[in-house]
Symmetry: C3
Subunit: 408 residues, 3 copies
């Protein structure tokens, strides 16, 4: 990569500095008269901006040991500097990396992609919801990864997220685990077939003064506005898990990939109220066509596909135009379970969390290896009833957003 | 400059690190028996300290593209790390810089000076108030600057400040704009004549649950204590703007500069209450005499004057004493409008925001190009009536403060 | 040290980057049936993790001037990035360093050790409580240190901590002072005898709207859980101080060191309530035996002992095992004064702050100069009565924790 790197005279110690800047501008467009459902629900930001990621990556290596610390000045929303990761690693042999500290442990195909390589601005909601059970950004992790050329396996014990300690007095943190296995059963210069399976499990959800609870929710695959339109509310739960299969196929400069995810929540019993186990699900399919012909190559260390590297970087002098790509996605996340229209969720112990479908189209321009401009147009349909099961509180709208990205 | 810089082997990519440290010690001195007005108003900090700016400047360049990210560990008051700027720039041709991201867009002569080059510890209150309408630090910006040797022009569309998104749910962010034009109609080695005009306009102030509001206020040109003694309170306003002319004259090692600024607030109508358009104004004149003879050279890229570079850096061995400078300033900001003594502001729809005058004297020592020690003595007079128009709530006091500055 | 360092071509300016990462995993073990005292007191975290320190050390030197700025992404608990220090220094002659800014001014032997060199995970509670009166991390300081080979003296005027300004409106910050004198009356290659005396004094505690108050308290020498079990509550106090003698003895690869500390609080009078002056005390003795034979060498610049440097760094190829060390400590802090069992503290004006004893055992592994793994097992006994003096609210428990440390 292009990171400035300092190496000591004896070559044993090195330090490098990377950067990631993703700045989003956009808004939410609602067709007020056409959709009677929109009455009574709150507005979304018609125009705004957000520094989605603003990270400085400090990396240090001494022999087989590496240490990464990455402050993040962006966020959802921006405004509060935080830590993306801080972890210590040991590579005793080449394909094996042992990791301790705040880390993003490997789970799902989408979460294994670098956020610089995404086809769309945000991960599909079902992936975002699933990974935050016992994985996700800044997760306290202890475990390892084996990344060979054709196959990949990883497993970690996990605890709280960075900042999850901030209210910790007298309560055990969450304990959980996450594992992923993936590989390329077929690979040649033109074709990569990716298959995988991953999951994460919160063995014991943090105990708070109000008991153990879990809330599943997400924003509408864009973070200019921070409203979460699908949301289970706070569920009384001892344990929860998510798992699902991964699929990817690259043929030359075309990529098609998708995942199905199932989430299970074991509700805690309390009194006579019904507390059935709940199941939620979702998935996505997305495709990319790099118009200028560059492939999205497979990254073995992540078992995921990378962004294209422009063959002819943009240059007024030399006439290069960089790489151009069109993308499309269908994504669905269903947070309804054990409920029936017209019947209050309390009577069944289920939840009207809502069902969100997003159809997205995108265009990317990669002037060179460091830069990317990414335009997304999403059509969002949220179908959600109120807890009484009587009133539609979902919405339909379009979103339009441009990301400016610089990463090295 | 002196920034440590890493450059890649092919010379196309470089990274540099700068720093800015400004640490203030001082206090507010009140002559209690001499001023009956001081009864009933709150005390100011008689002695304290503040890390005014504590910034690390990370800069990256790749061909014509640059990226800046600057965490700030100081503030007003210090204690909460934040982001000063994070922006992406393109220089397609030499005098033109296009910018996107969190930035300090160019407005007023004073705000165009680097905070390392100030004649006084803080900007004049009227400049501080004016720039924060739709410009100022960490402002979401999209636009460009043309900076030639003899003239300068810039214009940006602007949105929220960094952190302004933190409560953004369902409300459009502010949209605004800022522009500046300036130049040197006369310039020779001994003389620089600077003239300029700039302004900023909030087209549409952020809508919150309590409507669109704007608050104009400032501290007393020192930030050991964070009390704002002139303050319009929250004004219902759709739009607001500020503009004014700039003037500067350097003759050898003397500098004289000043600005007048007018602020307009278009109040929103609500019910029968009078809501006239409001106008506020202020200005300042300040001068510098570098006793040791070094000039405050003109910086074309900013269209403003820089600090002197010591001809003989301080050295016990070589007998150098660095550069020494004396400064003086008169600054006034009047936030009263459509009000009359003895009449409540509610009856006219005006506001008793207060009028602040500051007379300041200063002494600077520049041991070398990196260091500066800066002593300020200000005489402050705040004349302000309560909203009923019956009671004086202003104060008179002196301030004395020392800044220790290290910048590269 | 091993810090990546950039030096300018003329050798006058240099910049370096250091790092410190301390990640703790552990918990609190209570033997519920064995200790009837534990009824009614809150639980402690049975298992958790914390990024205790996550610092990047940016250092800059220009001729005799140095500037340090150190963001910290860890904490107690982690989750809120902050600033460890930001200070400006001048070395006019070799043993003398003058310092201005946020700094950890020298006080006590334990606080003078680097946190990388500690024998146990946390400082003894009495040291932690004493240093926070007018010294400690991120303390606004102005003063100097004289560090010769055989003796050390330092004194600083001090103000607020970093972040202490955040609520400062109209109230003078604290003013205080801190001094330390120490030396090695006997030193040869096998033996170092260290003696010292230090203290800190808050001349004038910050005035708040509820008067001047001071709270003395600490966690149980482990920061997985943030509960403070010994705590005086908020004491009305104008002044407070702490002082005590230091002792250390190294013989080859053995180290024994200890301190006694006395804390005095002059309570402010108010009405008829008794407000006697209060005195608290404590101390510790700790020892280290480096099994692999490396000494804990004396650092003259800190007048304290450093961690061992492994003679044979860990290497599977070369068969080195690094350095191994066993540690032990007894620590006591008594925050009870002017109280008697069965009598409410309000009747005497004393305080039942509690008495904490900790017996600790530890094991360290230093694979190389950058890395350290440190296991602590502590037996904690807190003996504390409620303010009425009638009920035991202390607890007895064990703690077990592992620190992973990387520092350079």
């Amino acid at each position: 990569n292009n990171r400035p790197t300092f190496t000591s005279a004896d070559g044993r110690f090195s330090a490098s500095l990377g950067g990631q800047f993703q700045y989003d501008i956009g808004g939410y467009l609602r067709d007020a008269p056409g959709n009677p459902n929109n009455r009574g629900v709150r507005d979304l930001d018609s125009f705004g901006q957000n520094l989605r990621r603003g990270r400085l990556l400090f990396g240090f290596r001494y022999d087989d040991f590496t240490f990464n610390i990455t402050p993040d000045f962006g966020g959802s929303p921006d405004g509060s500097p935080t830590l993306y990761e801080a972890n210590f690693n040991w590579n005793p042999i080449r394909p094996l990396t042992l990791t301790l500290g705040y880390f993003k442990p490997w789970v799902t195909l989408q979460d294994s992609m670098s956020s610089n390589d995404f086809l769309f601005l945000e991960r599909p909601s079902i992936v975002e919801i699933a990974r935050n059970i016992a994985a996700g950004d800044g997760r306290s992790s202890l475990g390892g990864r084996w990344a060979a050329n054709r196959w990949f396996a990883s497993a970690y014990l996990t605890g709280a997220n960075y900042g999850g300690n901030s209210t910790a007095q007298g309560i055990p943190d969450q304990t959980g685990g996450v594992a992923r296995i993936a590989g390329r059963p077929y690979a040649d210069p033109d074709i990569d077939v990716h298959l995988g399976l991953s999951g994460n499990y919160a063995f014991d959800i943090r105990r708070t003064s109000t008991g153990q609870t879990l809330q599943l929710r997400d924003r509408a695959e864009l973070r200019i506005d921070q409203s979460r339109l699908i949301d289970t509310g706070s569920l009384p739960a001892d344990h929860a898990y998510a798992w699902g299969p991964e699929f990817g196929l690259r043929w030359r400069n075309f990529l098609l990939q998708g995942e199905y995810i199932h989430i299970g929540v074991e509700q805690a019993r309390a009194g006579a109220a019904p507390r059935p186990d709940l199941g939620f699900e979702g998935g996505y399919v997305e495709g990319s066509w790099v118009l200028t012909g560059e492939p999205r190559l497979y990254t073995s260390s992540a078992a995921a596909f990378a962004r294209p590297k422009p063959a002819h970087p943009f240059s007024l002098a030399e006439g290069g135009w960089g790489a151009w790509e069109v993308m499309a996605r269908y994504s669905v996340a269903d947070l309804n379970d054990k409920v029936r229209r017209g019947q209050a969720q309390a009577t069944t112990g289920g939840v009207f969390g809502g069902r969100q479908e997003v159809v997205g189209l995108g265009l990317s321009w990669y002037p060179n290896n460091l830069l990317r401009f990414m335009l997304n147009w999403d059509i969002v349909n949220v179908d959600r009833l109120n807890p009484a099961g009587t009133t539609q509180i979902g919405q339909r709208f379009h979103t339009l957003a441009l990301r400016t990205q610089l990463a090295f």
